[in-house]
Amino acid sequence: MKIVVCVSHVPDTATKIKISADEKNIDSAGVSYVINPYDEFAIEEALKTKEKIGGEVYVVTIGNEAAKESLRKALAMGADEAIHLKYDGYLDSLNVAKNLAEEIKSLNSQLVFMGKQSIDFDNCVVPQMTAELLDYNSISVCVSFSLDGNKVTCEREIEGGKEVVESQLPIIVGAQKGLNEPRYASLKGIMAAKKKTIQEKNCTFTNNSVELIKIKKPASKNPGRILGTDVSVVPELVRLLREEAKAI
């Protein structure tokens, strides 16, 4: 069985975001890009599943030339094949999902893992959209996954607890932190990944349904008051929270 993992290449969480002059993008100068953290859980789960039931792990990304680094990372962790859908520009979630769906269809994969969301645009919609386009089942925000024949059981995070969800293949699973502990790539894996051929394809673009008007900085908060340096100021803090902030 072919197991597909979709990954994205995003600014590292420690990045300070600067907005470009045209307000349509972020200024990428000095930004270090990494594989989307949630995608590492997706890769790990795909590799674990392959170890149990056999098959090959295909990793797919959409992005510019630099996105290949994330494919290399997945290959170094143990993925078998990598496919790069080349696109440099703004694709909305539906366009991303359409391209991923096409690729999953051509690979005829019944089991797909993705990070629950990418930490750039934080939409948390691509796994579900891709599944709907393929008429596959989907379970989002998963913290556990098990496969028994065709039957899939996942726990998914909800407010104040977890849902145990039952479904079956074909399925797309959105990986949440807590699903597993992603393995580190071995030196051997890193070396082998460098030699592997990444298959390149072009993205198809249909009109975006989302139109970006502008990107802006959130209103900055003014630093407040340091009330003091020990317990003696606690009553004053409580008074301010009650009378000034009216928050307690």
Binding site: K162, I215, G228, D230
Partner: protein
């Protein structure tokens, strides 16, 4: 009038959620301004608090009922809402950006060939267009977007939009029994985390970090949370160290929150933490290091040992609460 807004009201345990009242309110505001009709829909087996909607301006609730839907099923919900939207010619579909709303709305959007604006923190009308504002990079920036598709699916971040009271003359439930539902993906069990409030839904969050020194000191955080009726949060450092569960993590790769009051206790304020909580209305920081970045966004700060200050703070708040 031919245009219609559909507001999806989420129920859990037969109770329509607080965040759904917020969405209902925003829906009514949009309907008035755009001169659209509006429908409110819920799905489930039993609903016990539907009459509460009356004082928020809802005059009719459509209840799509099936005895197998006491718990959520993405396949069934998507199919039911798609049919309802098409039959009622609803073109704007509003959801709360909850675990359920996030799961359901993208599938529905594809069924309707709609674009999605998710996790909105502001939604304005400009002419006849809806302009949404949403945090990106976990809140380090905001994007303003609009949808150009015929159908529009929107999800609103919980705790940001206000549920406004608007009395209506009457209220009724329009019960529609659904004979068959697609249960190919369904919830079979809910595992509750021991009766606690979730950080994503809380008005007050009390978060602890490395400054707590060890997991054994987290009960101090829990005690403060208890007297305040607050949720317990945690920094990534303590989650990664295994002190606390990931469901409590606030920040990028955790939850992005906007409560009325946020306590950062022994949290220095790494950029990925600040991104996730800087839109809180009031922020209290207690930290030993006077140069900690958390003080740059805190309304009230105490530079000191959180382990000494925390018990006193809990006692002081207990006093005024009693």
């Amino acid at each position: 009038m031919s245009n219609k807004i559909l507001v999806f009201l989420e129920q859990r345990n037969g109770q329509i959620k607080k965040s759904s009242f917020e969405v209902a309110s925003k829906g009514l505001e949009l309907a008035t301004k755009l001169n659209y009709e509006i429908s409110f829909v819920t799905i489930g087996s039993e609903i016990s608090n539907s009459s509460d909607l009356k004082e928020f301006g809802v005059s009719e609730l459509v209840h799509l009922k099936n005895s197998n839907l006491s718990e959520y099923s993405s396949s069934a919900y998507t199919q039911l809402l798609k049919n309802f939207a098409l039959e009622n010619k609803a073109t704007i579909l509003l959801f709360s950006n909850t675990a359920m709303g996030k799961d359901l709305s993208p599938r529905l959007a594809v069924k309707l060939n709609a674009g999605v604006m998710s996790d909105l923190i502001a939604l304005e009308i400009s002419g006849t267009e809806l302009i949404g504002t949403r945090p990106i990079y976990a809140g380090k920036a905001l994007e303003e977007i609009k949808l150009v598709s015929d159908f529009k699916v929107l999800t609103l971040r919980p705790n940001v939009f206000k549920a406004e009271k608007r009395e209506t003359a009457s209220f009724s439930v329009n019960l529609k029994e659904i004979a068959e539902v697609d249960l190919s993906t369904k919830v079979v069990e809910i595992k509750k985390s021991s009766g606690k409030i979730d950080v994503a839904e809380a008005d007050i969050i009390v978060s602890g970090g490395r400054g707590l020194k060890g997991p054994e000191n987290f009960p101090l955080v829990e005690q403060l949370a208890e007297v305040l009726g607050a949720a317990v949060g945690a920094s990534r450092a303590v989650v990664d160290a295994g002190w606390r569960s990931h469901s409590e993590q606030v920040g990028q790769t955790g939850k992005t929150v906007s409560p009325t009051l946020y306590f950062a206790l022994g949290i220095s304020g790494a950029i990925q933490h600040l991104a996730g909580m800087s839109t809180s209305k009031y922020i209290v920081a207690i930290n030993k290091d006077k140069d900690a970045p958390i003080f740059s966004i805190a309304d009230y700060g105490i530079v000191g040992d959180v382990l000494e200050i925390l018990p006193v703070l809990t006692e002081e708040i207990k006093k005024i609460k009693s």
